[in-house]
Every structure is written in structure tokens, then in C-alpha cells.
Amino acid sequence: MAEEVKLLTTWSSPFALRVVWALKLKGVQFDSIEEDLSNKSPLLLQYNPVHKKIPVLVHNGKPISESLVILEYVDETWRQYPLLPDGPYDRARAHFWAKFSDDKVSPSIWGVFIKQGKEREEAFDQIFENLKFLEEELKGKRFFGGEKIGFADLALGWIAERVCVLEEIIGVKIVEEEKFPLVSAWMQEFVKVPIIKESLPPHEKLVTKIRGIREKFLGAA
């Protein structure tokens, strides 16, 4: 049967990027449909009426939303290059770290990005707490998935892909190599993986866009 795989996306979304990475690692052909989030298409509203967000994967006409849910679906549907490990316990660990990325790490880094002064210092404390756990988890491993990148790496990959952009904009190092050598090494290794490297959004364009978001946010505060 001819597969039809579409991805509703934006060029700068770290959540959409997770899905792109997963599809590319598995060699799945797909069509990218770039959305303008200031003017959402009828297609997006039809395929994700609940959240009206990207990414949305549409497989043979059936839509799936929420990037981590999509990653699971992709892994279960296309079995080559498995993202999740075999054993239930290791799978639970991968799920745990993926959730940790979105529930804890992401808000803490966003906190540092938009806060200033004393509030930012406190936000840094939160980041360091979170990074310590990631540092611990990487002991003896090259990637969270072991020798190759896996589900947790893709979920946490935005750290490797995006933190340098944030650091450039705020002019402060967030992940210091001396403090977090394993996380730093992982970040460098991750973006060197060919599929990851070739999918990175254009750096300058991304810096400009995110700087704009930050200024808008600080201006509105």
C-alpha cells in the first residue's frame, strides 16, 4: 500500500524536529507542510482541533498530535532503527527521561531565558538541579540510548540543538563543561550524528527569531 506520511510543522519548532529526526532515522519518506502559526491553516485546525498546535503527523489520513506521542507511534509503526529499547524496564526509563525533559528541563531553561536579575539566578539553580540528574544518567553511556541515539535522546535533543542559541542570545553559558562534562559531551556528540546535523534549522535565522521572541516577552513583562 502506498504510504502517505505528512508532517505539519514549522522550521523552528524543537518539538517538530523530534519527529523529523525519528522519521529520518527510520528512513521514512514524508511530506513537510510548513504552518504559519499566526494564521493557522484549516488543515491544522481539522487535524489538531484540541490543541491547534504543531507537530501533527498524518499517516494515511489519520492525524496524531503531541510530539512524544508521535514518536511512540512512529517507533511502533516503522520497526527499523528502534528508538525504544527492548526491555520494559529500560523502556520505562526512556519514557521517564522524555517526560523529565518536557516537565522539568524545558520550563527551567525557558525560565532562565526570560527572567532577569535575582529571578534568573534562582532559575539557574533549578537548571543545575535538573542537569545533575541528566549527568548522573549519562554515566558510562555515550547517549541516553546507549551506543546509539534513542527515544530519550530525541526527547532531550532540543538541549543539544538549542541551548547554544539561547546562550548566544542571553550572553551567558547555561551548560558549563566543567560543571556538566557528560551532558556537554553528549550535546556535542548528538549534533554530530549525520541525520541530526543535516536537520538543524539555519543558525542565524533561528537566533534572530528567538531573540525577537525574547524581546517581545521582556517588553510585555
Binding site: 508521535i70 511512540e72 511502533e76 519514557h95 521517564f96 517526560k99
Partner: protein, 222 residues
């Protein structure tokens, strides 16, 4: 090999109770340890150093935290009475709605409970829209899982039991049968199930607890 299954939880937590329900549905014997969250045990801190929260399932000394992660783990280890469907698309839908309940519905509900004035109106409307989406998912079925309860039903027990209870305590009318006839039909059906009732907090104790918590939250915000 003799299985060792321990659940660290609290009697009033919907997240903890959903794990009890999953284990009981599958007939898995387990040891339950009630945690005092104002005085967390060394075991809890050892088994969940990242979040220091319940529930934590410990299976043959290996800890798993985060309730929906635990539910999936349980389903993989004990595959009688499956919680998740087999088909990848149906599984994705189940996970989507599970996420929706815990990340959206619960948070909106909390905001709606405590917002005032114009904000209250907006949040109540948001809550209504969200719960309508959830209600539509039932789509003529007895349960979210179809003819028997599944992953989404188990996660949604918080809606079936905790939402009406909080509503009763607060005396508000945001979550009513009038507004959500299909959802309330589902609530009636699911709360008729024996094993669900075995795993719910005792009503009077629960009512008193929620009352006290709400009083506490209200006076803390003043």
C-alpha cells in the same frame, strides 16, 4: 521467580489510586506503602530522587516513577486484561487523551476552582471546551476503552471521582450532568465497577480531606 511488587502511594492521590486499579485489574499481588508526604521516607527518596513524589512502583527492587509511565510498564509486564489497545494508532489516541487529562484538564480545573471575576469566566469556558473534547471521545462507547475500561478510563478516574467531589465542596456548577450528559453516564458506569470502588478513597474521609485542603489553599492565598 518470586515477584516483589511494592507501591508507594497516598490514599487520597488519584495518581496513586490509578496504579492500584491497574494492578488489581490484572490480579497482581502487591505490597502497598502509605507515604506521609510531609515526612517522606528514605525509600521514597531513594526510589524517586528526581521528583521525590508518589506513586512509585518497585518491581523486584527496580523503581518506576510517573503514573502514566508506570501504567504502561504494568501493561507490558502483566499482559492479561490489557490496558492499552494493540493497534499503534489506537495506542497513540489513548496516550494523547491520557496526556490531555493530566496536562490540560487537571490544570484548567485547578485554575477554574480558584480564579475570580473575569478570569474565572474565561477559565470556566476553557474548562468547558476541554471537557467537551474529552466527552466527545466516548462517541457512543460505554468506556473510553470500548466495552471494558482501558488506559484512558483509568487515567480519567480523577474526572469521575475527584472532579465531582471538589465541585461538591466548592459548591460550584462547572462540572454538571446538564453540561456533560455523556460524561456523567460514563461516570455512573465506571463507578459501578467493583474493582474501581475498591480503589477509591473512602468518601467521608475524602470529603473532609478535600475540604481541609481547599480551606488551606484559600487562606494561604489571602
Amino acid at each position: 521467580m518470586a515477584e516483589e511488587v511494592k507501591l508507594y502511594g497516598t490514599w487520597s492521590s488519584p495518581f496513586s489510586r490509578r496504579i492500584e486499579l491497574a494492578l488489581k485489574l490484572k490480579g497482581v499481588p502487591f505490597e502497598y506503602i502509605e507515604e506521609d508526604l510531609s515526612n517522606k521516607s528514605p525509600e521514597l527518596l531513594k526510589y524517586n530522587p528526581v521528583h521525590k513524589k508518589i506513586p512509585v512502583l518497585v518491581h523486584n527492587s527496580k523503581p518506576i516513577a510517573e503514573s502514566q509511565v508506570i501504567l504502561e510498564y504494568i501493561d507490558e509486564i502483566w499482559n492479561n486484561n490489557p490496558i492499552l489497545p494493540q493497534d499503534p494508532y489506537q495506542r497513540a489516541m489513548a496516550r494523547f487523551w491520557g496526556k490531555f487529562i493530566d496536562e490540560k484538564a487537571l490544570a484548567t480545573r485547578m485554575k477554574a476552582n480558584f480564579a475570580e471575576g473575569k478570569e474565572r469566566e474565561l477559565v470556566t469556558e476553557e474548562f468547558f471546551q476541554q471537557m467537551k473534547f474529552l466527552e466527545n471521545e466516548l462517541n457512543g462507547k460505554d468506556f473510553f476503552g470500548g466495552e471494558t475500561i482501558g488506559f484512558v478510563d483509568i487515567v480519567a478516574i480523577v474526572v469521575a471521582i475527584w472532579f465531582p467531589l471538589t465541585q461538591e465542596v466548592l459548591g460550584v456548577e462547572t462540572f454538571t450532568e446538564e453540561k456533560f450528559p455523556v460524561l456523567f453516564k460514563w461516570i455512573r458506569k465506571i463507578t459501578e465497577i467493583d474493582v474501581v470502588n475498591e480503589c477509591r478513597p473512602p468518601r467521608e474521609k475524602h470529603l473532609a480531606y478535600v475540604k481541609a485542603r481547599i480551606e488551606g489553599l484559600k487562606s494561604a492565598s489571602k
